[in-house]
């Protein structure tokens, strides 16, 4: 392995625990050094961000085809779009990137989709919860998610009642959220579903409520323990399992650090840091000081949202400004949304409760075409001062703007094709497609 220099490791901190540097961020962080940058990332609480969209409950009493139904559907689709734009803008703008990166991570972990959750307000509330609790302790976060209104809609928890349980939430909670496959039985799923009975969702005002007559208060045997488990008791039981710590640590590792799992020794030190308090900040710090974090070989494929947001932050192009003129009588174009959709990743629309794929699944032939189109739209709205004249100086300028350590000969060669052109911003677009930028190094 090659141990990263302090400045390179600091740059990696901004990429992996944040959302990539904004203009000036990288030089300031390198000036402070690795330790101080890590301290600042962990200590900075989430900022208020741009005001969220106002999302009223959608009342849909119309029959199919009626104007009432169409109005409700339009309200729903506009609400979803507004929500997506708001979050991308928030990710772009934030000066507290770690809580935002963790909110994004937890959204992929507790993956909940607008495809089924037809009240955008519930998704906004879930997003707030993920941000509020996402850097605290995992138990509190898991307790909130198992009775989160959007989650209860998404995984049918609201229809799970005594005498006729619905297993969906119980199964996915153990498999995908807190324990991992292979650490529970089918009987555990059926019993856990009974523990989660009784919860329902009031769309207005968008809250969850326990209905005692729908709750199964009998004894259940889950993971070898017998008690009159309810939702909080079930969550406590699961997160206290030793397999749960390794599962949560592994999930975070695979999304922030590498799809190669940590060695048993590293995993041990990480689960120790997570500890009985299930301390997510302590876990993040332990990850950042682990040997693999400082190994040049620990590379990671950027997910499309991470790539796009990082690019927009680097060049100072806010998502709200990256638009294309209306065509005919149509609406103003939203190339960020359009190309993220083509790349297969739109916030609030994960493909399933398992979240988005990781790693090489994003490296398809067609993805480079969509990255190019999106990068061209983004750099057209860049606000960074234009680069210097001269091909070599321009290439180095683009490298610094995007926070890339170095270009190899292939990418340098490619950049020379555009570096002498009239518009320096084209160099930024091509630089964003280099393997050195598509892969987080």
């Amino acid at each position: 392995m090659t141990v990263l220099a302090d400045a390179v490791a600091t740059r990696r901190l901004l990429d992996r625990l944040g959302l990539g540097p904004r203009p000036g961020d990288l030089s300031a962080a390198v000036g402070q050094g690795f330790e101080a940058t890590l301290d600042a990332l962990l200590a900075t609480p989430a900022d208020p961000g741009p005001p969220p969209p106002v999302l009223a409950p959608i009342v849909d009493r119309g029959k199919p085809g009626t104007p009432e139904r169409q109005a409700a559907q339009q309200q729903r689709s506009q609400g979803q779009d507004a929500l997506t734009r708001w979050w991308l803008e928030r990710m772009w703008a934030t000066a507290a990137p770690l809580p935002e990166r963790l909110t994004w991570f937890w959204h992929g972990h507790f993956a909940t989709s607008a495809q089924k959750v037809d009240q955008p307000a519930l998704l906004l509330a879930q997003n707030d919860t993920l941000r509020r609790l996402g850097t605290g302790d995992f138990r509190t976060l898991a307790q909130a998610m198992v009775v989160d209104p959007a989650m209860l809609v998404w995984l049918d928890g609201r229809t799970n009642r005594v005498g006729a349980p619905n297993e969906n939430l119980a199964r996915e909670f153990m498999e995908l959220f807190a324990l991992g496959v292979g650490h529970y039985t089918e009987t555990d799923v059926r019993e856990a579903a009974r523990a989660l009975t009784g919860w329902t969702v009031d769309v207005d005002p968008g809250s969850a409520r326990l209905v005692p007559r729908r709750q199964d208060t009998g004894t259940k045997t889950i993971l070898g323990r017998t008690a009159a488990f309810d939702a909080p008791g079930f969550v406590d039981l699961v997160v206290a399992r030793p397999e749960s710590a390794a599962f949560v640590v592994g999930r975070m590792w695979s999304r922030l650090i590498s799809t190669t799992p940590p060695s048993p020794a590293v995993l041990g030190s990480l689960t120790d840091a997570y500890g009985p308090g299930r301390d997510l900040r302590a876990l993040l710090r332990a990850i950042a000081v682990s040997a693999p974090f400082h190994d040049s070989a620990t590379t990671l494929v950027k997910q499309p949202v991470e790539w796009a947001v990082g690019l927009m932050r680097a060049v100072g192009a806010s998502p709200s400004t990256v638009t294309t003129p209306p065509r005919g009588r149509g609406r103003q174009g939203d190339p960020v949304h359009q190309h993220l959709e083509a790349l297969g990743q739109v916030p609030f629309r994960p493909p399933s409760v398992g979240g988005w794929p990781a790693g090489t699944a994003w490296l398809t032939p067609s993805a480079q075409l969509d990255r190019l189109a999106l990068a061209q739209a983004v750099v057209a709205h860049a606000t960074v001062p234009p680069g210097p004249a001269g091909p070599n100086a321009r290439i180095d300028w683009a490298r610094q703007v995007l926070g890339i350590d170095a270009f190899g000969p292939r990418s340098t060669d490619a950049l020379r094709d555009v570096a002498g052109g009239p518009d320096a911003r084209t160099v930024l677009a091509v630089a964003a497609l280099t393997p050195e930028y598509v892969i987080s190094t």
Partner: protein, 420 residues
């Protein structure tokens, strides 16, 4: 600049493995060179007569097989499914007491014409109720350790590094098409027009080899090379098929009732590529949303109607050309649903399920054994046919491949499923 270019061009020629000639041609702005001369010694010949093509349709979420091929006249079915149950008068009779979901009217017509084989009770030992694990099992064909290469990825591994051999119409590559050393290509939804001018030249140059690349960077560069190759071979057909569809004289679009679903679009593209005899042997498309834990009846019937509206004109269209009659379409999902409905007018995750094979080469009708509704395994149907035997059938009978390297020794193709 002008006195430097030849050197750069030469280096690219040397480093652009596989498509060296194409790179030079494109850099010089020559885009109309015949692809057969571009692709590194013309390794591609058009799809030959008799070479089968497999189209895999994945239904994500666990499609309820009991409400797809419905035992409507079975009293146990009616009792277990109560509000969810279809009545015998509602389903489309396919014999042996079974009827297709009312959403599958077009498929029923194809069935009557002998172009649909339904293999009943397909599953695997020790069924898993997790979507992800069960889908991984189906996609890797490995019930015990479903983490490695996909089953068609392993087939690709054995056929060389050719990005055209298999093509996914979804933008994200499904695991079934990912091999240990090679992977299928994806087609961009917005079409295959590569950038031109100096940005285009730079874009192509980024696909070159750099000895300093690690595995992931090398994969990014290679995806660019694959794109160039895919564009050369498939691009012209895609462009003409899209312009025909846009002009509104596409028979498939009309037959789909004007609805332009993504699946219908994907299958129209596949049909055009097959008819152009591009050398692709496997296509992958998908439809999601089948996880019907609640309010299942309306949701599933809507999805099956969408499937039917996409599949029916596709299979009909393929039946009109020699190339199209070489295609077998296989439709599967990761599991069926529990026999007993839950209290949310839905069903929870189950096990054995029917697999559909469509096209001219199949022997139409009902195959396999209908699972019993009373002899259950903890509330679940018992499988009678292993899905790997269905895979073995298409690997041998459609792709002309030995199933053993892909599936392990000892698989038995399902007898009488494909016409010989």
């Amino acid at each position: 600049m002008s006195n430097r270019l030849p050197d750069v061009t030469r280096r690219r020629f040397l480093t652009w493995s596989g498509v060296a000639a194409a790179a030079v041609g494109l850099t010089a702005g020559a885009t109309q060179v015949p692809w057969s001369t571009l692709l590194d010694g013309a390794t591609h010949t058009p799809l030959a007569p008799g070479q089968g093509v497999l189209v895999v349709v994945t239904l994500y979420g666990g499609n309820d097989g009991l409400n797809t091929v419905v035992p409507a006249s079975d009293d146990t079915y009616q009792a277990q499914r109560h509000e969810l149950a279809y009545q015998p008068s509602e389903v489309l009779d396919v014999g042996q007491g079974l009827g297709l979901n009312p959403g599958l009217a077009g498929t029923k017509g194809l069935f009557d014409d002998g172009h649909v084989a339904i293999v009943r009770g397909v599953g695997y030992p020790g069924p898993d109720h997790s979507h992800f694990r069960s889908m991984a099992i189906w996609q890797t064909a490995s019930p015990t350790s479903p983490t490695g290469a996909g089953w068609l990825g392993r087939w690709l591994d054995g056929t060389g590094e050719d990005p055209l051999r298999a093509v996914s119409l979804d933008s994200v590559l499904p695991p079934l098409l990912t091999g240990a050393s090679t992977a299928a290509s994806t087609l961009p939804a917005a079409g295959l027009s590569l950038p031109t001018g100096s940005a285009g030249a730079a874009f192509r140059a980024l696909a070159g080899v750099d000895p300093g690349d690690d595995a992931l960077r090398a994969r990014v560069a290679r995806s660019g090379r694959d794109l160039a190759q895919v564009e050369q071979v498939l691009g012209p057909t895609l462009a003409s098929s899209r312009s025909r569809a846009a002009a509104g004289n596409d028979a498939g679009a009309a037959a789909a009732g004007g609805g332009r679903s993504q699946l219908a679009d994907q299958l129209r593209t596949v049909a055009a590529l097959v008819e152009a005899r591009v050398p692709t042997r496997v296509y992958s498309v998908s439809l999601g949303g089948f996880d019907t834990h609640a309010d299942e009846r309306g949701t599933q019937q809507r999805l099956l109607t969408e499937l039917d509206a996409a599949l029916t004109p596709f299979v009909q269209r393929l039946g009109t050309t020699d190339a199209g009659r070489q295609v077998v379409t296989m439709v599967y999902s990761e599991f069926g649903r529990r026999v007993l409905a839950n209290a949310s007018q839905g069903t929870d995750h189950g096990t054995a399920n029917p697999v559909f094979l469509l096209g001219a080469p199949v022997v139409g009708g009902l195959h396999g054994e209908q699972p019993s509704l009373t002899d259950l395994d903890a509330g679940d149907l018992r499988a009678s046919t292993d899905f790997r035997d269905v895979y073995a059938t298409v690997l041998g009978g459609v792709l002309g491949a030995d199933p053993a390297p892909v599936l392990g020794a000892g698989r038995t193709p399902v007898a009488g499923l494909l016409a010989t």
